[in-house]
Symmetry: C2
Subunit: 261 residues, 2 copies
């Protein structure tokens, strides 16, 4: 049987709350592609001169150029991020003199705030994925175009085909796409109601005074605000249907995640 | 006059879209304390064996123990994060054999998706802060308690005093607080409508077919869901007022950020 999960290694094994750890391709990939923002971390060029890693917030998606219509749960995928060619992250392979730069990418969605009797038992509902891999510049033009469409449609489905495409040559030159070949990955998912210690639950003075439960949280998309130069009077259907359905989906997830398991 | 901003150094200077860079204490600190999730990155223990940095999502706040009622715009603040004493990040100083571990902390809020005529000009409205500093374990008991209250009230204001406190000795032992002494920091803020190239704006075939504008985005808090063991029938006022006011504040910010500047 083919693998359906990332291998558990020292680097990606969830140790605290092991029961929250998930390694299957489907879960890891769906978290990355559902998270609006990815955080990308890289090492300093010269740790003796400057010892700090750096994190930058980015937009990106996972996919498989060699088989774009793949089942995202069937195999490891590559992660693509893009930016202006002059930006710090996109210049990283050149700046560090490496074809492949080791990076870490985190995708996190907060799903709720869990309020327990005591601060110690407060926690959050969330879905998070952490990937480690090597970032390199995509030089193949077909792969680059495909990745740009993947990332754009990751923001708003079908947006690529509904905007002015293909990009001009100048636009393509000004944009760099980095592909992260994933070497390890894992996800961590927490849901349900807060847990409390038996001793607190038996203390009437405590239970009668402290409200416990979950505040569900989701990222809400507001009604589309046309720009001052917009000439299309009606919000197109692909966009109007998407943001409303997406809100319902997200709100439902957060609400369901708040329930006792 | 006393400094009111972090010094611009190589590490924290915003280079792409310099006009979005902000260094003042007030902006950096308010982004960190408004973001629900912080991403914390650290270096590998032995880069020759494992070359990857790692990012973990965390909860935390900035504050000043020596002067808790400070004006957050008046001086640099320390960043506090907490976790179970056995967790990877909390064990980091011990595991790396360092009293002070170099870390990077990122706080990001997505405020909108900007849809331009061409994918190249798509972008996002956001507020982000990136801090570099040294993380060390807080050993002073008074500072540790104060930091735990700061972090808990950062999740939901006034929650600390409205839960079962003080923590037991076992709870305090099981919890570690890391303090990050910030050595450099900057913020990047983008708002407004999408920008388009003159050539596209003059092309009637393009402008008549592509809707442009902003989808405002904010993190929405849902109605409190009581846990199965909750005994307080009515959601307390400090909580009920907060989540509703917070939603209004966040929604208003995202909506206002979508307007032409």
């Amino acid at each position: 049987m083919a693998d359906t999960a990332y291998t558990k290694e020292t680097r990606n094994t969830v140790r605290r709350h092991r029961e929250r750890g998930q390694y299957d391709f489907a879960t890891v990939h769906s978290i990355v592609n559902q998270a609006s923002i990815l955080h990308v971390s890289f090492l300093p060029t010269d740790p003796l001169e400057d010892p700090f890693p750096t994190i930058l917030p980015m937009i990106g998606s996972v996919g498989l150029f060699s088989n774009p219509d793949n089942d995202p749960g069937a195999q490891p995928l590559d992660l693509y991020i893009h930016g202006h060619s002059a930006s710090r992250l996109m210049r990283l392979p050149t700046a560090q003199g490496l074809e492949q730069v080791p990076v870490c990418v985190a995708a996190t969605m907060l799903d709720g705030i869990k309020l327990a009797l005591t601060p110690f038992n407060h926690s959050c509902n969330y879905r998070s994925a952490v990937l480690h891999g090597y970032a390199s510049i995509v030089t193949d033009e077909a792969e680059k175009s495909w990745a740009l469409a993947l990332i754009t449609d990751g923001l708003v489905p079908d947006r690529w085909d509904n905007s002015r495409v293909p990009p001009t040559k100048a636009e393509m030159t000004s944009t760099t796409v980095l592909k992260v070949s994933v070497v390890s990955a894992s996800a961590k998912v927490n849901s349900g109601e807060p847990g409390d210690d038996r001793k607190d639950l038996k203390d009437d003075a405590v239970t009668s005074s402290v409200w416990t439960g979950v505040l569900p949280v989701h990222e809400q998309i507001g009604a589309p605000q046309p720009s001052s130069t917009n000439k299309v009077a009606k919000v197109p259907q692909y966009l109007d249907q998407w943001w409303q359905a997406e809100n319902t989906k997200r709100e439902t997830y957060a609400h369901d995640a708040s329930r006792p398991k």
